[in-house]
Amino acid sequence: MLNLLHYPRLLIQELRVGDWLVVLAGLLCVFYLFQTLWSNEHATKVQIRLGDKIYATYSLNQQREVHVHGKLGDAVISIAQGKARFAKSPCHTQYCVHQGWLTRAGQAAICLPNQISLELLGETKPYDSLNY
């Protein structure tokens, strides 16, 4: 283990072309993950989806409650000055409600039982791995 530290040149020589490729791909992957998951872009709009269709898109620059009739019943979505959340949902698990306020672009709350989802949109829509 100790002599590992003493021969960095020897170690580098042991890397083959594919090894370098994997290291490079790994670095790109990590960089990309930091870029997408740690973006702190402020959201401007909230998009509500019902089933596979876009139900409505609202500006986040307002204070209002939106009632959406999902598969199980009425869900209440609160919008309040730059953030949005599920305030009430008829679903059993209540994961969507517990998720709380969404504030950043790209954040999403999905209520599978009731088939309603919220997604915050920024000025530029970040790459969405769910839809591509």
Partner: protein
Amino acid sequence: MKPTHIQTTIDDHRIAKLAAFAIALHMVEAIIPSPLPGVKPGIANIVTLYVLYRYDFKTAAWVSILRVFASSLLLGQFLSPGFVLSLSGALLSLGVLWLGMHLPKQYFGPVALSILAAFGHIAGQLLIVRLWLIPHTGVAYLIPIFALAALFFGLMNGLITSRLLAKKSVQMSAKK
């Protein structure tokens, strides 16, 4: 009453010995404090990778799975979330190793496989975390850190493994 004898083969003994190495490394690692739960060097994977190169995939899979079970028993976390995480990580990284084994050998060495396996390991764990333990998108914020750790430790473990393999081949040629 006649005592029953379990027939063991040389392979079984070899697997047991190698698994013992892996378990020992796992125990050492359990003592090392970690800044974030889940970020660990995974030095026991050195044994898995070494075995994969020196023997075959079957032996490596045995060693890896035995290590997960035995270590969790020793640490008192058998069937706990920590054990499930460990198992899912080990299974997925074995799957990745199995695929990676078929990459052309002249280009892809142990370092490439080690990094791929580390990513497989973390992917398996994050899958369980997201699906079962913390069904919340907040987990996503930790993914970049885990990925960075996987890349770094995967690289280190890979380098150590390739060093061990090189040493072994020098010894073997010296014996001839």
